[in-house]
Amino acid sequence: MGKKLWLFGLLMLALLIFVACSDKDSEGDAEDTNPGKAETGDENDRTLTIAIGADMVTFDVHDHINTSTEAIHVNMFNYLVKRDNETGEIVPDLAESFENIDDYTWEFKLKEGVTFHNGDELTSADVKYSLERVAYGEELRDYTNYNQIKEVEIIDDYTFRIITHEPEPVLLNRISRIASGILPSKYIEENGFDHFLENPIGTGPFQFVEWVRDDRIVFEVYDDYFGGKNPDWDKLVFRIIPENSTRVSELLTGGVDIAVNVPPADWERVENHEGTYLAQETSNRTLMIFLRSTEGYPTSDQRVREALDLAIDNGAIVESLLGGAGVPTITRVAPGNFGFAEHLYDTYNYDPERAKELLEEAGYPDGFEMTFHSPRGRYLQDAEIAEMVAGMWAQIGVTANIEFMEWSNFVELRNAKENKDAYLLGLGNSMFDAANALDYYSATRFEGETDYRNDELEELLAAAMSNMDPKERSEQYVRAQEIIAEDVAHIVLHQESINIGVSERINYTPTMDEMIYVETITKK
């Protein structure tokens, strides 16, 4: 029997080794790129490892709406134009120059000598293919952000025009964000899109090596990058580590150089740890409480909404739950966005006494009971914030029954328009334009869900939508934000922070758009 038992053990062991080995084969040279300890070894020294929380979704740049996926894509694809994170201006990237010809037409000139990772040169045909694919592809997830484009007209290899259906003031914003990456049309036509998905190529500073799903995405530097070969990094590895504490532990032990989404609990640890520091930046994401203005809900009364807003001490939330990282605000449009209203930013209304008065005026001297939906684990400290808000409302006599929801159920609830008095939601704005942000206050979009309506606002928004005069358009948006603030259409809590743990051996400053531009990451 001894023999049989040993045999059994050996078989199990053999199976283990087999499984382990068979998999290593498929990993190819992943073994080499395995960071292990990032500080050790010459080769590792030129490898940058970044820990992210969720896997990339796809290499189909047009078929995802995922910020963290785009944060990876920006390193291997390029947009025609990009937003300068310092100034907020739109500057050329693949394009050499651009020009607004009329309300409907923009003309672009491409840089010459830009090559894809397979050596093909970038031409207008690639741009036409890329933009029209998403502008016409109803099944693509980014379709609604690009179907404003009517056509891409090729003038010559390096010149083309983008023609829109309507006057489109934010066209440049549109094509400097998710789904704006330019794809290699020839490569795709020759090999098919599925082949592209498996072996994607772009024009970016890094080229694709492999993607082990839920584990890692590996890139290597592209020598012929039109912006010059990256001087610091030969290899770029994104590792997927969903559990917060694990990600932080990896950072602390040197397993990764950068860990995104460090929870507030670990900020001090990362900051104080020898060899790491915490890099913070305000994001373009604002946390809000959507209130229901539908007839019959207490929150349909502006005074109630205002009371609820006044009851919340945004400063306390930011201080105690976010460790001071985050900016209390009254408007959703953040600095760096087109249409930013400075007087509504970095401030908040807090006056519980007045709130009680308002409630009494509105006919709720003893408060009322309401339902408050909140996602959990979606935004920084979302559940905690919801609980604290409910606690603050309790101070003015409003009982908010919080119902936490798992994300997909929460989305479902909203889609079915079964949301009750209030829900918590954080919204980003990849366009960096007030149009995108204020769209949430238009009456038709959220009929049955929030039912907020202000006719003056409707007109303003409609006018701004196709106003090609930037100055006037900006004023329109500032006015719109004032109306919204007076109405307390929604309660705006604060602008979230981006919290990234970084190894001391590198310099990195996160950017507001939550993209991870490896070009901005340098060795110390």
């Binding site: 029997m1 001894g2 049989k4 038992l5 053990g9 199990m12 062991l13 199976l15 283990l16 499984v19 382990a20 068979s22 998999d23 992943a30 073994e31 395995n34 292990g36 969720a54 896997d55 979704v57 796809t58 189909d60 078929d63 709406i65 109803e138 099944e139 997830r141 980014d142 379709y143 609604t144 952000n145 998905l197 082990v212 799903r213 839920d214 584990d215 890692r216 590792r239 997927i240 580590i241 969903p242 559990e243 504490s245 694990t246 990600r247 532990s249 990896e250 602390l252 032990t253 397993g255 798992e406 994300w407 997909s408 989305v411 479902e412 909203r414 889609n415 769209d439 979009r445």
Partner: protein
């Protein structure tokens, strides 16, 4: 042989029932479309997508289509990845298997000596400590243990890598995390099974022959205990795979567990279906193997 064929045939209705259960769940789960599109997608876009995915058809049509496709090993494309669900699942299977097998080995290495040891010293302080340790192993939630192990062995002691899959050292912590819980159950079962075996007449016979205690315990008793132990290991497959869900998340282990959790969170039902079917199939096959091993290990069954 006859028995084997019978057991194999039994798998068919079981897989069928499982597919039905999963399909009903998915059907009830409703519409993934909302999650597929941006939050501000217009109504028509939602409708178009819904129709193109065949989600407008009545239940029996959808089920029929599902069964026909399933028989061809096709669970549809993942909404999230836009790729064939089954191949995505199979891609992860090796990672999960590696973790599962390593965990079983860890569990065996802990449980067999501990179980035997405590059974031969019944009610002694050793037994008490071993039983206590086993219960403790079961009482600790997996994720908690995993995080603690990382903090201790990786962060504080800097001995082992924190997470990910790769070298052998990457495997150690997750295998211990997952193996401990299973070892706990196994220890208890081996102990009670050993106790029962040790009270059998043939043990007395063996002792009456003047054999050393070691031979009596390890040859005569343990060999008989092996039969239930194999069954336990097989039955634990299910728990084990369940445990990988948690362990894989904690250790960023790129296996089925992570894929599945993501899929559930994003209502990526093709993946969920494929995952459940693959896992169920695996569990069933393990049980089948255990059944066959049973026959090898226990001649009584052969002579029945």
């Amino acid at each position: 042989m006859n028995y084997f064929i019978k057991r194999v045939l039994e798998i068919i209705p079981v897989l069928f029932i499982i597919s039905f259960i999963v399909f009903v769940l998915v059907f009830v789960a409703g519409d993934p479309v909302a999650l597929l599109l941006p939050e501000d997608a217009p109504e028509e876009a939602v409708e178009t997508l819904r129709t193109s995915l065949g989600l407008d058809d009545p239940f029996y049509v959808q089920y029929g289509r599902y069964v026909v496709n399933m028989l061809q090993g096709d669970f549809g494309d993942s909404f999230r990845y836009g790729q064939d669900a089954m191949s995505l699942v199979l891609e992860r299977l090796p990672a999960t298997l590696e973790l599962a097998i390593a965990s079983i080995l860890v569990a065996i290495m802990i449980a067999i000596p501990l179980g035997i040891w405590s059974s031969t010293k019944k009610n002694s302080s050793i037994d008490l400590v071993a039983t206590g340790a086993a219960v403790l192993g079961k009482a600790m939630p997996n994720f908690w243990l995993g995080i603690m192990l990382i903090l201790l062995f990786s962060v504080t002691l800097d001995m082992l890598p924190v997470s990910g899959r790769g070298s052998f050292s990457h495997l150690i912590l997750p295998a211990i995390t997952l193996g401990t819980g299973i070892a706990a159950e196994m220890t208890r079962l081996i102990r009670s099974s050993m106790l029962e075996t040790l009270s059998q007449d043939y043990i007395r016979t063996a002792k009456s022959k003047g054999l050393r205690t070691g031979i009596v315990v390890y040859k005569h008793a343990f060999r008989n205990t092996l039969v239930p132990v194999v069954t336990i290991i097989a039955l634990q497959t299910s728990t084990l795979i369940g445990g990988t869900l948690i362990t894989e998340t904690v250790f960023a282990w790129p296996g089925i567990g992570q894929l599945l959790i993501q899929a559930v969170n994003t209502r990526d039902m093709a993946i969920v279906q494929a995952c459940v079917m693959v896992i169920a199939f695996f569990v069933i096959v393990m049980n089948l193997i255990a059944d066959l091993l049973y026959q090898v290990l226990d001649p009584r069954i052969r002579y029945k």
